[in-house]
Symmetry: C2
Subunit: 269 residues, 2 copies
């Protein structure tokens, strides 16, 4: 048995493509249907109420494309609206928080884990709660880094200003002597070099996208949803704003050329 239906992936915008990148490395023959809510991005500065409302609509976009499971490739949605998506979808749902938390707990020798993310993700305490449930001996230290997303979107991943800002954001976590840091936002893997240099490469960075790809592989096995084909997969993207900017910038996040990007119906006139 082979299930050729696509894996559905959604995010507030373009950042979730780093999760798609991890998925295509781990599961190179799975078809993927991606939705990015580029007309309303970002979610990380908005209230949980609004994010839950948007998450429900995003889920509906993917369900229309007959997806066999849903990956919430957005830390903010995974943090505040996992239950909304699970309740709405009739297929398995994987968020990025629990896989990221599991990887961090396994990685931390000193049981001191830092978590960085958007204001909403950090305010939700979702990573800290997930980590405590896995191992109550692990201490977490969290910090919202609201400027990281705009810096990445500006392409300033190696800029001097980014270094100064990273130092300021991460200094309190350095003082806490963490040995593991969860990159709790899909944009942050693009800042790995800057973050590593602040910590002098002494901290293990946990990319939730990679952890999530492994969790997705497990779910596909368990539910017998694997696509056994060895053909090149079909990776299709939908966005709520016009596709142009997403197509232009998306490559940096996806790591290769994007295929067809279309505008999703029903978001704007």
């Amino acid at each position: 048995m082979s299930d050729t239906r696509p894996i559905g992936v959604f995010d507030s915008g373009i950042g979730g493509l780093t999760v798609v990148r991890a998925l295509t490395i781990r599961l190179p023959h799975e078809n993927i249907a991606y939705f990015g809510d580029t007309a309303r991005v970002p979610y990380g500065s908005k209230s949980p109420q609004v994010v839950r409302d948007y998450a429900a609509q995003d889920t509906d976009v993917l369900l229309k494309h007959d997806v066999k499971m849903i990956v919430i490739a957005c830390n903010t949605v995974s943090a505040v609206a996992l239950d909304v998506v699970q309740k709405r979808a009739r297929v398995p749902v994987v968020g990025v928080i629990i896989p990221g938390a599991e990887t961090a707990v396994r990685a931390s020798k000193k049981k001191r884990v830092g978590v960085i993310g958007t204001a909403s993700t950090i305010a939700s305490n979702a990573y800290a709660n997930a980590i405590r449930q896995l191992d109550s001996a692990v201490q977490t230290f969290s910090r919202a880094c609201p400027l990281f997303v705009p810096l990445v979107e500006e392409g300033w991943t190696e800029h001097a200003a980014t270094g100064i800002i990273a130092k300021e954001y991460l200094f309190p976590l350095m003082q806490e002597k963490i040995d593991t840091l969860v990159l709790g936002c899909t944009h942050y893997p693009l800042l790995k070099n800057v973050i590593n240099s602040v910590f002098h490469n002494s901290v293990m960075l946990v990319d939730s996208g990679e952890a999530t790809a492994a969790a997705v592989a497990r779910v596909l096995e368990e539910h017998k949803l694997r696509n056994k084909s060895t053909l090149k997969p079909n990776i299709q993207c939908w966005v709520s704003d016009v596709p142009q900017k997403f197509t232009e910038v998306g490559e940096r996040f996806f790591g290769q050329k994007l295929g067809r990007v279309q505008r999703a119906a029903g978001f704007t006139a």
Copy 2:
């Protein structure tokens, strides 16, 4: 005759409060109804198509509150959707671009004007076009500054990183020896100190909000819409996300305590 109906003001979020601040200084007895689309902010990185769609909906929110005129306190909307608002509203409409352009043309002795704004505002060329129409001898030099809004929202208006970023953004305009700079985004007046220090106070900064308040006063006179009352005015705000963050951060933009902030209906479930 006295018209006590409120002046309607809208923006993509919180930045338009700098325009409200200028209005309350110029017209201290006018009632104001403000709408900030905080559930979909920002507009400056979105396509003109989406911004035009949102502008129509924002206009409808204000019209429901029986406003006597509409002020588009958002440079991006003024740049790409002035006609949408004018067509929809049955009351006079003032955007921030033309008043800002007029002030810049009057101020520039060397006829060399810089314009900074969001990606969408700069891509629209709205300021450059308006300035050319007023005086074809004036040369304009434009630069998008996408990090300025998130820096202001982070409260880093005097931060070292902001200085470095401002220098990088503004360097090309310095090289062009401008003598006047249009702050083409409602967040930018909060960066006046940083910008002045980059230019060693040698450039006249044009705050479109102040120019717009003067234009609004003229329109009220012309259309006999002035409120002749000398009572303390009623300044009411509506937002599309929950009011909490707007209320907390709004004071920095408005310069004084905000009154009642309510959630507008019809934007989310």
